[in-house]
Amino acid sequence: MSNPTKPQVAFYWCASCGGCEEAVVDLADGVLAVVDAVDIVFWPVALDFKRSDVEARPDGSIAVAFVNGAIRTSEQEEMAHMLRRKAQFLIAFGACSHLGGIPGLANLWDRESVLRGSYSEAPSVVNPEGTLPQESWQEDGRRVTLPAFRDTVRTLDQVVEVDYYIPGCPPTPKLLMDAVQAILSGALPPRGSVLAPDIALCDQCHLKATKPDRLLLASFKRPHQVLIDPETCLLSQGLLCLGPATRAGCEALCPHGNMPCTGCFGPTSRVHDVGAKLVSAVGSAFDASSPDAIEAVLSTIPDPVGTFYRYSLPASRLRRKVSQAAPAEAAQ
């Protein structure tokens, strides 16, 4: 039962993988301190509250709603609007609700090609009649409905106003703990802030000292193509580590595990379009001056959009693919 003296907190998931929910569970013993301080009134993945329970609450009665996942369906959009009304603070939790995340890469396709690809063309699917999901279906006198599947994947703040962002795929337990404490104590930065340091990840990387002032790479390598030296800056080894263009806060977890940063925290506040900024950085990091030599080096980056906008395509200035045709390069 809800305790009226404690601040009420809600968690919700939209187009996401469940990893952000895992981040809450990963608080481990810390979750006891959270449960001590707040009253969780909605958390579909873990607790049996229904949408109608939240609807019945007065507007603004929930102190904080953490929403993870991108917005892809009409149901997710309605839930975002409802939680916006019910909550004093709406927090975009994790890369998908912050920037669009991995589901946001579907903005290289459209509704029809996604449904066709998943329900009819995938090699593992047997669907001779080409049946696609319908929003409404009548059978034996009963009508069943599904939420509408949108053409474009959106970030949470493209649908409702967001107060704060907690970045990461998923956010680290420490970031969540820091955010909960900041909210409970009222020690919050200006509204609209990302609750992580506004510096590049390289500043938290243990390999920073080995990063050369000037990079002159001959080609780019993917992690499986090179025996990684764990003592040397990954970028200087030709790995496309996105640390220089990515916000700190994870304490360089991936470089610590010999994997290049893939940019899940998104850019710092000075960057307007992270993919374009990475094009700039990559263009300065290799040594070639003739068009042929440049093409040869660039061909070692097989999927520039999927690499540079891996977590942020819906939040990019272009937002989605313009025409309706399947993308030639990304489809390969």
């Binding site: 509408a148 649908v159 509204r191 374009a276 094009v279 660039l298 520039p304 693919k321």
Partner: protein
């Protein structure tokens, strides 16, 4: 920002945003003007110190705000005032074109040209060619496309005024 439009001659004419390096191509555009050469009025020239100063974010922003094409003019290879800025531009634009192609923006909408200070005629020719090519492709007009994409969702939702005031930390 979102709804700003790069000026158009009329609703249907394509707009080209041009970034010209001050040492070569901008001087050449001046020469084209003082020599009374003619080129289509669809281009909006922005002077930059070097083609290497053109951050790919500028190009993406120009498209996002409604440009139908982006032209970058720099010094010929070997002539860069800053030694290698134009090579940097060459590498960046090659990569940016691949990004834009995947995003459905045709190659002809982004053009990089080397135009020295004495080549006023080349400024006029390149602008005429590019306006023709973009006109054949049709308008890109991303602001209008964004409005179309957003027709499928509810109006953007914010907190009620009382909630917004309650949520704002003191003094902000």
């Amino acid at each position: 920002m979102e709804e700003q439009r790069v000026g158009t001659v009329n609703g249907q004419e394509p707009t080209i945003v041009a970034f010209f390096c001050t040492w070569c191509t901008y001087t050449a555009a001046d020469l084209a003007g003082t020599s009374r050469m003619k080129y289509p009025p669809n281009v909006r020239i922005i002077r930059v110190m070097c083609s290497g100063r053109v951050d790919p974010q500028f190009v993406v922003e120009a498209f996002a705000q409604g440009a139908d094409g982006v032209l970058i003019g720099g010094c010929h290879p070997g002539d860069c005032h800053y030694v290698e800025g134009n090579y940097k531009a060459l590498r960046r634009i090659a990569l940016l074109k691949r990004v834009l192609r995947t995003m459905g923006i045709e190659d002809e909408r982004l053009r990089l040209e080397w135009i020295s200070a004495s080549e006023g005629d080349k400024v006029a020719r390149v602008i005429s060619e590019m306006v023709g090519a973009v006109r054949r492709l049709g308008r890109l007009d991303l602001p209008a496309k964004r409005r179309g994409w957003d027709a499928e969702v509810l109006p953007h939702g914010g907190p009620t005024e009382a909630l917004a005031a309650a949520a704002a930390p003191d003094g902000r």
